[in-house]
Symmetry: C2
Subunit: 212 residues, 2 copies
């Protein structure tokens, strides 16, 4: 699933607790400029080390990020980073929230998830369509350090998907100050303002310290 | 849809703003003991007077109840009562809430709605399954009186439907202090503790005053 295969003999130094290839790529792009000495092979996804994801039964993004990072640090003996992200809709009291990836009842079906959300909110007028993406990023080291940082990207929900970039609910959220959906931004533009970008930039100094 | 057909020539005195036969029956059962002089033909549903439901685009139960009662009072020239009810799940920040009836994307498909909710919450453990039914009941008179009363029925979400009674999400909510689902209660038991029963008993004195 990952686009990067570690070179033979190269031992990873940091594991990202995700099996989602989109997320591995996005997180590498965020980390790379902050860790200039880091090689691509230093950072791998859980799939690259054969780690299975734990049950994410937390009820907050921070709980789920910690559940995933703890499990992966324990399984690999390496510093592990995990994020948990989702879409929070004001008029739904913050839902889908931690249930974003399984909103349609089938985990990871992005199109079904966003189409269901649009159908649920079909009659909600523009002034009540405020929403934000939220991300909690956690670092857990084998020695027991645990750090969580959070970030948000506020915006409004569109009434139909727009754009081919990004993933998840990106095609139906228009970030504040933008006239494009999150799926119409370049990866660089999105990382600069995204919930995940903010959370990972806040976590980066702690990751650097853990890799020293 | 209604089980009661007004006698020829009997003019209704109060209109319930619903096309849902279950709700007409439940509301009549709640109102009857509180209004001893009332005949069945005095209270009819919107369907019995040929009134079409308005778009319910409020974002609270009270807003939707008032939207429905205002439209029906204006259309019929009679005092109109409407309720808006839904299921509020703590871990979803109060959702489905006003979106309860269209949770699956298709309005009024009770089974699809509750099955989707169970799938979304499949990994949520018992201690995080608190939920409540909520109801806002509104009275609007042609002379401009507007009253809203609210009621709740707290409980916990089950992991599978139980019981054949009730409607909506009744099979998956176990009211506090009960070992049965709301769909396993008799209509009388349910009305005694239900959100709708509480809201309508609070509204009843105002209805009596409006009919004098």
């Amino acid at each position: 699933m990952s686009e990067t295969v570690p070179a033979a003999g190269a031992a990873p130094r940091l594991v990202l607790a995700t099996h989602n290839a989109h997320k591995v790529r996005e997180l590498r792009e965020i980390l790379r400029p902050l860790l200039p000495g880091l090689h691509a092979s230093d950072v791998v996804g859980a799939g690259d080390v054969g780690a299975e994801p734990p049950v994410e039964d937390g009820v907050t993004f921070a709980e789920n990020a910690l559940i995933k990072a703890r499990a992966l640090a324990a399984a690999t003996g390496l510093p592990a980073v995990a994020d948990d992200s989702g879409l929070c809709v004001d008029v739904l009291g913050g839902a889908p929230g931690v249930f974003s990836a399984r909103w349609s009842g089938r985990h990871g079906d992005d199109l079904a998830n966003l189409e269901l959300l649009l159908a649920q909110l079909a009659e909600v007028p523009a002034q009540h369509r405020a929403a934000h993406f939220a991300c909690a990023a956690a670092l857990v080291t084998p020695s027991g350090t645990e750090i969580v940082e959070e970030g948000t990207m506020p915006g409004v929900l569109l009434t139909a998907p727009r754009g081919d970039g990004g993933f998840g609910y990106d095609p139906i959220l228009q970030p504040a100050g933008e006239n494009r959906s999150a799926a119409e931004l370049t990866a660089e533009e999105k990382n600069a303002i995204s919930h995940r970008g903010k959370a990972f930039r806040a976590l980066a100094p702690h990751i650097v310290a853990a890799l020293r």
